[in-house]
């Protein structure tokens, strides 16, 4: 295959000035909100060991970018931030009994299978709240996500909450076999409700059990779903899951964001490490998932430090898409000078920069096409000729 001169590896993109500005504004808005909730931002390496972080990640193996280091170890470009932060928290930061609030804004890498133009590198902004197993932690993470998105300017969006523990308990109680549970869960994961119904009807089950499985697909809506799910919960684990959701709903209500939230008891995520409450966020004008999160109480045990944890991540590229064109209202001035008046021009530029204004300082001889060059500025000041008045 011939590589063209300007070509980049599949799914990799440049970020040009206008998009960069918009992206930075959104990132900073979300970061500000997250910081006011007391979360500390951290960075982790772009490369990790496949054996540890690669294996702990929920991203499919064929989506990982892998390479070898000089000793022959397999490395991965981090496919998400949750696994590296779990590694970091387990090794350094986490002390038993002290909840830890960490946040990140970082690029992650996932090789795309279909339609090469889809981004294989994209930025996520998110938080991880480690060491607190109460529903207050889940409510905080979900509410913080909503507040941060609102701060970034997003209005028309919705968060769907489910509970994977509930789904698993229901399936296991009826099917009694991990393999069979997996088969049925796969239909939900693939969003194939037709297949789910057909499969349930093909199983040798009592009509009560069949109805319990079929009813799962209809258990969605507002807070009333909790009460509905409660009447159908038969096992202890199901009941505990529903109780958790009831508490969560009450806590979210305290944050005043229940109007942005819906429940769906059949929600199953593409991230396999979730163990309890999980959620996804969708926005108008973007056909794909904007962000997601949930409780992952077993991930830290993979780094020999068992601890409950929850978190969310939002894709910055999709947030940008949801919000549309950037509104860039800061103006940039250009001062064009001739060599004999450089000192004067620089003094003027320095003065304006001190005030926080954006100034480009340009020697007139360096410009080939004056009209095209000046067209890209909001204001142009000419400091030209021997001495005289500035022209505008």
């Amino acid at each position: 295959m011939r590589v063209f001169m300007f070509e980049k590896p599949l799914g990799m993109r440049d970020t040009l000035p206008d998009v960069y500005k918009t992206k930075r504004a959104l990132r900073e808005a979300m970061m500000k909100e997250i910081e006011t909730w007391g979360y500390s931002f951290i960075e982790t390496p772009t490369l990790e060991y496949d054996e540890t972080v690669g294996a702990a990640s929920a991203i499919l193996d064929q989506q990982l970018f892998k390479l070898l280091d000089r000793e022959g170890h397999t490395l991965v470009l981090r496919p998400d931030m949750t696994a590296p932060i779990a590694r970091l928290a387990a090794s350094k930061l986490y002390k038993e009994g002290c909840p830890l609030r960490l946040a990140y804004a970082a690029n992650v890498f996932r090789a795309q299978q279909r339609e090469g133009g889809r981004p294989a590198e994209f930025e996520q902004v998110g938080v991880e709240y480690i060491g607190d197993g109460t529903m207050y932690a889940d409510a905080e993470v979900i509410s913080l996500m909503i507040f941060a998105l609102k701060r970034a300017g997003l209005r028309d969006f919705t968060v769907t909450i489910g509970h994977i523990g509930y789904v698993d308990a229901l399936f296991f109680d009826i099917l009694r076999h991990e393999q069979r549970v997996e088969t049925l869960r796969r239909f939900l994961y693939e969003k194939n409700y037709v297949g789910y119904r057909e499969h349930v009807k093909s199983l040798p089950l009592s009509s009560i059990d069949r109805d319990r499985l079929l009813r799962l697909l209809t258990l969605r809506g507002g807070g009333e779903v909790v009460a509905e799910a409660k009447t159908f919960a038969t096992t202890e684990v199901e009941r505990r899951a529903v109780d958790e959701l009831e508490l969560l709903w009450a806590h979210i209500n305290q944050y005043g964001v229940t109007d942005m939230v819906k429940l769906d008891m059949s929600l199953v995520s593409h991230m396999s490490y979730y163990t309890g409450v999980l959620f996804e966020v969708y926005a108008k004008n973007v056909g794909f998932l904007l962000g997601n999160g949930g409780r992952y109480d077993e991930l830290l045990a993979k780094f020999h430090r068992p601890s409950p944890a929850t978190g969310f991540s939002v894709r910055l590229d999709r947030l940008m898409e949801a919000l549309g064109e950037g509104r860039n209202d800061e103006k940039t001035t250009c001062i064009i000078f001739s060599q004999e008046r450089f000192a004067e021009a620089y003094a003027k530029a320095a003065e304006m920069r001190r005030k926080g204004e954006k100034v480009v300082l340009q020697q007139v001889a360096g410009i080939q096409d004056m009209d095209q060059f000046t067209a890209s500025f909001d204001d142009v000041v000419y400091v030209l000729g021997k001495r005289g008045k500035d022209e505008r």
């Binding site: 969003k191 037709v194 969605r220 108008k284 056909g287 794909f288």
Partner: protein, 214 residues
């Protein structure tokens, strides 16, 4: 809020239209004969877009159409991230392996021609057979006749095309009907409108099922 519906042009279109009408949607008659690709039906709050059957899932996955009607064959081939909500039970047919009678697969270079490379590849891999998949865009029956491939994987509805070309069906892969599909974001953001559409279609499917039984 207007709902955008992606409809497949061709074979499924007429049957899908009948079903929508049975579901109580008032759809103008010229929809079927119009050459326009985008048609608004304001009194039903619907916008129809007419696409190639293979492309309906793409429009729905990207969210430019909220919902759509697509064959299960297309869903299996394309593996797109969309909700498969309802089996509309229209346009029934199946995917099958076919070839000339009394022929063997080439022992050195086994070849299969198909419009469905993904389905065909998965099927033969499941059987543990190594075959070369050749992608064609239509008239797949030609391939065994002219010696491009010994086997084809294609849609069979009546079996007439196979028969007229002297081919026989060898293995049945999977049954196919049309499905009602929904974009994952629309499923959340437009849940009321979509739920209503699902209910009305469910009712129409059941009614159509009763008619067939009688």
């Amino acid at each position: 809020m207007m709902l955008t519906v992606a409809m497949p042009k061709g074979r499924i279109f007429t049957e899908a239209l009948v079903l929508l009408k049975q579901a109580g949607y008032e759809i103008p008659d010229d929809l079927e004969h119009s050459r326009k690709l985008m048609i608004d039906v304001p009194n039903e709050q619907l916008r129809f877009i007419l696409a190639k059957p293979m492309d309906v899932v793409t429009y729905v996955e990207h969210g430019v159409a909220d919902v759509g009607i697509a064959g299960k064959d297309v869903l299996l081939e394309e593996e797109r991230d969309v909700y498969e909500m309802l089996d509309l039970r229209i346009s029934p047919c199946y995917l099958a392996v076919a070839g000339l009678p009394n022929t063997r697969v080439h022992p050195i270079a086994p070849r299969v021609a198909t419009k469905y490379p993904n389905i065909a590849s998965t099927y033969f891999r499941e059987q543990g057979e190594q075959v070369e998949i050749i992608k064609l865009n239509g008239s797949v029956e030609l391939a065994p006749l002219i010696g491009l491939a010994e086997r084809i994987v294609d849609i069979v509805s009546t079996g007439r095309t196979l028969k007229e070309n002297g081919l026989v069906e060898l293995e049945r892969i999977v049954d196919v009907t049309s499905r009602f599909i929904v974009n994952p974001v629309s499923y959340r953001m437009q849940d009321r409108a979509i739920e209503q559409m699902v209910d009305r279609l469910t009712y129409a499917i059941e009614k159509a099922g009763e008619c067939n039984e009688n």
